[in-house]
Subunit: 297 residues, 2 copies
């Protein structure tokens, strides 16, 4: 196995499997064609009420677009319209229950969100999701040691797999520092003071097709140097246990296995590059550096 294999695994999708959707000439996400039809059907009632809603438009062979007509609506009215459609699709057992957390719907950056959507529906609508991943480490006598988290057995996603010390999604309009404090407390029992000492060190991106739809993700990466005597404590049940590993063990585990949750491998590869553990003597070096930031559709 090679480090690049993990990047490949996070970047599996095929353009013809998805239709762009958006409004006013902007692409806001990507949906599977059968789901596009279901959205159109669910928005029929809206259309008769207000001439808004979703419609499929054909601009030529292979150029089909799911167009959202929402002129003159403010963001919260857009949120309501999306939520109304999602509610109907949930009642038809096409979508799961909402999670109650808002994610941005944006053609680019978080601060350019045109409206928001429940977190549970982001992958179905293939909207860009943003998150924060933090590597906690200790400068030991024999080099760096990384805190790794073992995910709880009862998690819906990736039970029992290894995880970064702290990792979480960034809700719509959440402040980066506030959200990192919240995640650091919930997942590792860290104080706000310690969370604030985390250093933002870059970002990774990838785009992956899942059963639900498409996940074009941007993850902000943080390094957090911790005192040797601190032991993280999970307070929200996501993590079963924390272990402190020599960085070489983390490196070997990433290189040789799939024990880490899919996208955590990328966050760790970025850490290993920035700290000089993966070096330019690795033939894949430049490919790794470049492909950790995949262009998003």
């Amino acid at each position: 196995m090679r480090f690049l294999d993990h990047i490949d695994a996070c970047n599996r999708w095929t353009r013809p499997d998805f239709l762009p959707w958006g409004m006013a000439g902007e692409i806001l996400g990507w949906v599977r064609p059968p789901f596009a039809e279901q959205i159109v059907a669910a928005s029929t009632a809206l259309k008769s009420q207000s001439r808004s809603g979703f419609a499929l438009e054909h601009f030529g062979p292979g150029l089909e677009v799911l167009s959202w007509r929402v002129t003159d609506l403010d963001p919260s009215a857009r949120d309501d319209q999306l939520a109304h459609i999602c509610q109907q699709l949930h009642e038809q057992n096409i979508l799961p229950a909402p999670q109650g957390e808002r994610y941005p719907v944006t053609p680019g950056r978080r601060d350019q969100a045109r409206c928001s959507i429940d977190r549970a529906y982001a992958p179905y609508f293939g909207t860009r999701a943003f998150g924060q991943h933090l590597n906690g480490y200790v400068r030991g006598r024999n080099g760096l040691e990384l805190w790794v988290a073992r995910r709880a057995a009862d998690r819906r996603n990736y039970p029992n797999r290894l995880d970064n010390m702290v990792a979480g999604g960034l809700p719509h309009e959440a402040d980066l520092r506030e959200n990192l404090r919240k995640e650091c407390f919930e997942e590792a029992g860290l104080s706000a003071e310690i969370a604030d000492s985390a250093v933002p060190v870059g970002a990774i991106s990838y785009c992956r097709a899942t059963r639900a739809g498409l996940k074009p993700d941007i993850m902000y990466c943080y390094d957090l140097e911790l005192p040797a005597e601190l032991t993280p404590v999970c307070t929200d049940g996501e993590v079963a246990a924390f272990e402190r590993w020599p960085v070489e063990r983390v490196m070997n585990t990433v290189r040789e296995t799939d024990e880490f949750k899919l996208n955590c491998n990328l966050v760790i590869i970025d850490f290993l590059i920035r700290h000089g553990y993966i070096t330019p003597d690795d033939p894949d070096y430049f490919e790794l550096v470049r492909r950790l930031r995949s262009p998003l559709p």
Copy 2:
């Protein structure tokens, strides 16, 4: 001015201005069409001798390729053939004098070089060039301080401009560590022991059209933490003076001015991101992270 403007400035080129050249179906570089004609003319003598040499091939509108027929030749014979053509073009005042340093000619990585070419001719032939850039810094009481170099007034390229503490090209087959030691000694008077403590922290890439031709470059980046009492000393005349600046001053100078040599801005922007001085609150953050590694042609 924005940080992104420096990335734009390092990525100015237009595909139709260049023809790919290569052999056996591999692209090795990009040349301007008039220079392609001059290469073909200079290789006419070779063709009559050995049926090898350069020829323009038309595969369709806009699909012209400068093809190098060098089957059954070993790398050193290829070097000789390129050198012979370059010598003729130098005698015709089309090319400058050779510099006497070999650069790789590769479709991808340094270790995939098919032959080599004099450093002076790499931009004319639009071959990938590799280099090493090092930021020397000190952990001061009030945060990081960076060593910046003022280039000598008699330099052919970028006289009087600011530079990274150590920066140099990577010759064909040069060992990364050996070359960094050599550059650290020549440009900053650093011992091999100190040079070896530099940490490889990633890479940047960019592609820029120049008067000569095309420069698709990959620069390996290094961080070197230095003791406060050490003062670098230039031993080869490239640098007129070294100054130690608070990182905020370096950041403002990069953001507001063109005082730094073009590609050094990118190396410093990467440093500022990795050390948390440019944060995800900057609206350009992800664009910066991504575009510091431009895909090369």
